[in-house]
């Protein structure tokens, strides 16, 4: 009877409970709520999760290796394809690192374009989060609502950058194009539309008793755990750590704007939800300030992008999901020796096992949604 059970790879065989009749369920890579090709092996006792072992790499494309065979500029379009929900912000992160190496900056108008596009992208990403969060809990209507408003942002992107999702917009020294004349009115109209709409959406979800019951106290990540797992972005801020690169290490012109960093201390699903909804409002605040002060002038600096001087360059940006950092090792020639990007989703997803132990399968799904991972970024 005391024969050792053969456990699937990755599990620790120490859990012993005489009442426990555990079994293993393979969740993914094709599963409606693993947000892509993520495979989780669940060790269950009834419906209670004992342990989770994730398996990554189903859509590994070798993006960082590809970067080594292309020029510096060509990596910008690959960064679109890491976290496709925050393509603009990834572009920005890479471009900032390259600019450090080239020793150039951008113009005033260029900075404003960058901030506006990045904040629009943050709203878009958080709207997807809003949708997936509702959708993963079984509400199809919030899912569509979130995506509906995001489409309007993508329409703006389409007009300005020429693509809805994989924008490939920023360049060292500025951006690919100047914004169109209709950009500012469109953003204004969108903000005026979003404000009442968000009110409706919050009415639908924020105080809803079922949402509260399912998320308050679920997936708690303490402050220490969040720091030790290297979490960042809304996941970290929901655990009470006031870390936002825009405030603690301001890049571009974020130090000129008046905005708050929303912080919650509970560290549960609902805290992460509240942080993200508050961030949508903060982004709207930044966008309104940008519209007021949007300057005329050249969109791209006159300095020609030169080759990177040999050395190591690092730039950190705050993407919608957290810390997006780019590390460039330049040796010689026009190709990078190595480009590494530190994406937020991978580190955030590492906390999944800790967060979901002892909860039900249904909770695992909502915890996943509250982490808001994008699997192509995890797998690269």
């Amino acid at each position: 009877m005391t024969q050792k059970k053969q456990l699937p790879p990755g599990f620790r065989e120490v859990y012993n409970d005489s009442n426990c009749e555990e079994f293993f369920v393979n969740m993914g890579p094709q599963h409606p709520s693993t947000h892509g090709a993520l495979r989780l092996v669940l060790r269950l006792d009834g419906e209670t999760i004992i342990e989770i072992v994730p398996h990554f790499g189903y859509i590994h494309r070798g993006i960082e290796k590809q970067a080594e065979s292309g020029t510096y500029l060509q990596f910008i379009h690959l960064s679109d394809r890491e976290d496709y929900l925050t393509a603009i912000q990834n572009n920005l992160g890479v471009v900032l690192a390259l600019e450090k190496g080239m020793g150039i900056g951008t113009t005033e108008r260029g900075e404003y374009i960058r901030v506006m596009m990045a904040e629009l992208n943050r709203i878009a990403s958080h709207l997807v989060y809003y949708g997936c969060f509702g959708g993963d809990m079984g509400g199809q209507t919030p899912l569509i609502y979130g995506f509906k408003e995001r489409e309007m942002i993508h329409d703006i992107f389409d007009e300005v950058t020429g693509s809805r999702l994989t924008t490939n917009f920023f360049r060292p020294g500025g951006s690919r194009f100047d914004v169109t004349d209709t950009f500012i009115p469109r953003v204004k109209a969108f903000l005026d539309h979003l404000e009442p709409t968000m009110k409706d959406y919050e009415l639908l979800m924020s105080k809803n008793i079922i949402v509260l019951e399912r998320n308050v106290g679920i997936g708690v990540l303490t402050r220490e755990q969040a720091i030790s797992f290297g979490c960042s972005g809304p996941v970290l801020r929901a655990s009470g750590v006031p870390y936002d690169v825009r405030r603690s290490d301001p890049y571009s012109i974020y130090d000129r704007f008046d905005f708050d960093i929303p912080i919650e201390t509970d560290g549960d699903n609902y805290a992460r939800y509240k942080v993200r909804i508050a961030e949508i409002h903060e982004s709207m605040k930044i966008l309104r300030q940008c519209i007021e002060k949007f300057p005329e002038g050249p969109y791209r600096s006159k300095e020609k992008p030169v080759k990177l001087l040999p050395g190591n360059y690092y730039a950190a940006t705050e993407s919608a999901k957290g810390l997006y950092a780019t590390y460039v090792v330049a040796v010689s020639g026009d190709k990078p020796y190595r480009i590494h990007t530190r994406g937020p989703s991978f580190a955030n997803l590492a906390a999944l096992n800790t967060m979901s132990q002892g909860h039900k399968i249904a909770d695992l799904v909502s915890i996943m949604a509250s982490l808001d991972p994008v699997i192509p970024e995890v797998d690269r």
């Binding site: 590809q66 379009h77 169109t180 409706d200 009415l203 105080k207 809803n208 019951e213 132990q357 002892g358």
Partner: protein
């Protein structure tokens, strides 16, 4: 990182329990608030955002900057500005472009064939950006699917380049 620990909820007092129980009943009002949103949206057809795609094909216009597939800018006679310099070929991250040069009667290097592979193209637009002569552009064609693989490999120029 040892034994997986299943967290157990702490027992609560009867008073606390009653408080939570009736608090939940009171907070069920939020369900009515949620319903008010969906019912309102149900009766407002002006909010509908669906586009009827194949039906609206005639009126559907992409933005001028839209990145469809690459095409060569040609005048009425089919002449282009390409000098077969190959900068676009080097700028392409995926090797989707091959510029095959040839020599004209005067012995000058001109464009022979401009090979473009749509299947490996990611529509990044680096080729258009890098072209110093403005010889290529990305068109507004967004229906890029084909039923046969052969259609993906195309020669963009109708005539050889003038140099």
């Amino acid at each position: 990182m040892g034994t997986p620990v299943i967290k157990k909820e702490k027992p609560i007092s009867a008073k606390e329990y009653c408080k939570r129980y009736f608090g939940r009943i009171l907070r069920s009002w939020s369900l009515v608030q949620g319903l008010s949103v969906t019912v309102r949206y149900f009766f407002e057809p002006s909010r509908i955002v669906t586009e009827q795609y194949p039906e609206n094909k005639k009126t559907l216009k992409m933005h001028p900057r839209y990145r469809g597939r690459v095409e060569m800018i040609e005048d009425a006679e089919g002449n282009n500005h390409c000098t077969a310099c190959g900068i676009c070929e080097r700028a392409c991250p995926n090797g989707s472009i091959n510029v095959l040069a040839t020599k004209n009667i005067a012995g000058k290097k001109v464009l022979g064939r401009y090979l473009y592979r749509l299947d490996s193209c990611t529509q990044c637009g680096f080729c258009v950006e890098s072209c110093p002569f403005g010889a290529i552009r990305m068109n507004q064609d967004f229906e890029l699917s084909r039923t046969d693989k052969a259609g993906f490999e195309m020669i963009l120029n109708k005539k050889e380049g003038q140099g």
